[in-house]
């Protein structure tokens, strides 16, 4: 536990260890139960301490005195770890509503991630809490903490599979910026994992993987492509090289999308012409589509009037011009 919680039980655990904490809790439970309940229900308590003290809470039968946050957290623990005895004891206590669940799970993640690695069961509960927070409650505030857990576990070759999946399931490109920060890490394993997670498959054939070369190069790439990226849903369960985020090359080629800066005084091509151009564009091979889409967007940003002429020309003519690169029409 690295973070300095001011709760008595957390401090005791930090200074004296789990074994001593359990001993002092047992003693306090016999001498001053109310004081113990006060500490356990304290809003500053960390989830790790509650989890560690589950056997003592059971021995002292403190369930009915626990607050809604703790009861909800214990219900979640019972469900995830399939602990039928615990489930029976907490099931009827306090009502479960969406708001209670949200605050309890958020507390579990926000304070629990400091104790990540405590033991297999704790990590399992934490993974499920993260998954719930992201998928059910669509909470994005926990994402940096989740990234920290992923990279910390990866350094120790521990289980990251479900956390990585949940992290990307936020379906928010913000995750790419969070991961990119680890490209600057002095730890080789961090850089390797960040590079893997940020790799982007640019083609359907899977032959054009964009692997980030450096933090700054990746940010430039992301800035260039952010108007066109979309969530693909790929995960490590499906493939060895998932691209959870992909670039929509057709939209990049046509410079379309809600985030593409609208240029004034443009005369967009008609929907019919667009459809024809796209048909030809999609018949190109992956390398050509990547080249043409990149060229198109660069030209669009640099000279909208030339782009308007270029985008209306036949695709094979566009390709000739694009192959000449910046030395051609963009002079």
């Amino acid at each position: 536990m690295n973070h300095l919680s001011s709760n008595f039980l957390d401090r005791y655990r930090r200074n004296k260890g789990t074994y001593q904490l359990k001993a002092v809790v047992k003693e306090m439970g016999e001498k001053n139960k109310n004081k113990l309940v006060y500490y356990i229900n304290d809003k500053k308590l960390f989830f790790g301490s509650l989890f560690i003290l589950m056997p003592e809470i059971d021995d002292l039968n403190l369930y009915e005195q626990l607050n809604i946050r703790n009861i909800t957290a214990l219900k979640i623990c019972a469900k995830i770890t399939e602990d039928e005895k615990l489930k029976e004891k907490v099931e009827s206590l306090s009502s479960e509503n969406r708001e209670n669940m949200f605050y309890a799970i958020k507390w579990m993640v926000n304070t629990g991630h400091y104790d990540d690695g405590l033991n297999n069961k704790f990590d399992e509960v934490l993974d499920a809490a993260v998954s719930q927070m992201i998928k059910t409650y669509e909470d994005k505030t926990i994402l940096p903490a989740v990234a920290e857990m992923i990279f910390k576990r990866n350094r120790k070759n521990q289980f990251t599979h479900d956390l990585i999946w949940a992290f990307f399931e936020s379906r928010d490109p913000y995750v790419l910026e969070i991961i990119a920060r680890y490209l600057r890490s002095s730890n080789k394993k961090d850089v390797e994992l960040a590079s893997n997670l940020l790799s982007c498959n640019l083609s359907d054939e899977g032959l054009h993987m964009m692997r980030p070369k450096s933090y700054s190069a990746y940010l430039s790439w992301l800035k260039e492509n952010s108007p066109f990226i979309y969530f693909s849903g790929e995960s490590f369960q499906q493939t060895s090289h998932p691209s959870p985020w992909r670039v929509n090359l057709s939209k990049k080629y046509l410079c379309q999308g809600p985030k593409v800066q609208n240029k004034k005084n443009t005369q967009p091509i008609t929907a019919e012409a667009q459809s024809e151009q796209l048909q030809s564009f999609n018949q190109l091979n992956d390398t050509e589509r990547i080249l043409l889409s990149e060229y198109s967007y660069k030209m669009y940003k640099k000279n909208i009037h030339l782009w308007e002429k270029w985008i209306k020309s036949p695709v094979n003519r566009q390709m000739e011009i694009a192959k000449k690169g910046l030395g051609g029409i963009m002079k």
Partner: protein, 253 residues
């Protein structure tokens, strides 16, 4: 259309295979396709047929093996042959043969439990073991690490990639994705499956089923308020058959 050494393939070889055999089904599909399937030699083509058939056989064998479906955190293996890693994968012990360790999964399946992706890798290794002589298999695969699509041997690393194919063929790996899975059971986020005959598929934990049945099962594993159905992706995972055939020629023929 099948091209061997740049020429249209003499389909006479098809008669070597039984009427309803996997090989015939594949031959017929490739022959009538408008796309060109290019092989350097007849041997390459026949090797792909053989390995595809063994992928299917291994799928049936694993389905019968009694290996259970367990999430990585709770995965289990026979420690006489494998060391379970902190991630939940299985690492071949240094003092045993890869062939014996792979075979043990099929003999003592009840001692093993893992998720669907790792089961696919087991299928591939078993298929290779059914094709290669045991000694060659042990020589080629002296270090095996079973853990979904991570740590794949260089000879089979292509199975970890998914691509849009020209045709779907028996022995292909497919994937059914479940976008609205219950966040508390993320292992049902999708199912890796082996195409057995274009109609039936093998998926670990689900068994041998039609794709519609697998989709219906995955839909039951969705979270509250789910709106999207699970669906079969249009991509496939395949080994590089020619690369493996080259290794076979080098070590066996």
């Amino acid at each position: 259309m099948i091209l061997v050494s740049g020429k249209p393939f003499d389909a006479g070889i098809i008669n070597e295979y039984a009427e309803r055999s996997v090989e015939r089904i594949i031959f017929n599909k490739l022959s009538v396709s408008s796309e060109q399937y290019v092989y350097d030699t007849v041997s390459q083509l026949k090797f792909e047929m053989k390995l595809r058939k063994e992928i299917i056989n291994a799928s049936y064998q694993l389905n019968r093996s009694k290996m259970s479906f367990l999430v990585f955190r709770k995965s289990k293996c026979n420690e006489q042959y494998w060391a379970r890693t902190d991630e939940g994968g299985f690492l071949l012990r240094g003092d045993v043969r890869g062939s014996d360790a792979i075979n043990d999964i099929f003999i003592n399946g009840f001692k093993y439990g893992t998720e669907c992706a790792t089961a696919m890798i087991i299928v591939y290794y078993k298929a290779l073991l059914n094709v290669f002589p045991k000694e060659v298999f042990d020589q080629l695969f002296s270090k095996i690490h079973l853990m979904d699509w991570h740590y794949l041997d260089r000879l089979i690393k292509e199975v970890g990639y998914m691509k849009k194919p020209k045709e779907y063929l028996p022995g292909d790996r497919r994937y059914i994705i479940n976008p609205d899975v219950d966040p508390l059971t993320p292992h049902w986020q999708g199912e890796n499956i082996i195409d057995l005959n274009g109609n039936l598929y093998y998926g670990h934990g689900i068994g041998i089923q039609k794709s519609e049945t697998i989709i219906a099962i995955l839909n039951q594993k969705r979270g509250e308020g789910a709106k999207r159905s699970a669906y079969l992706l249009d991509t496939v995972g395949r080994p590089d058959f020619n690369k493996i055939e080259a290794a076979y020629n080098q070590n066996v023929r």
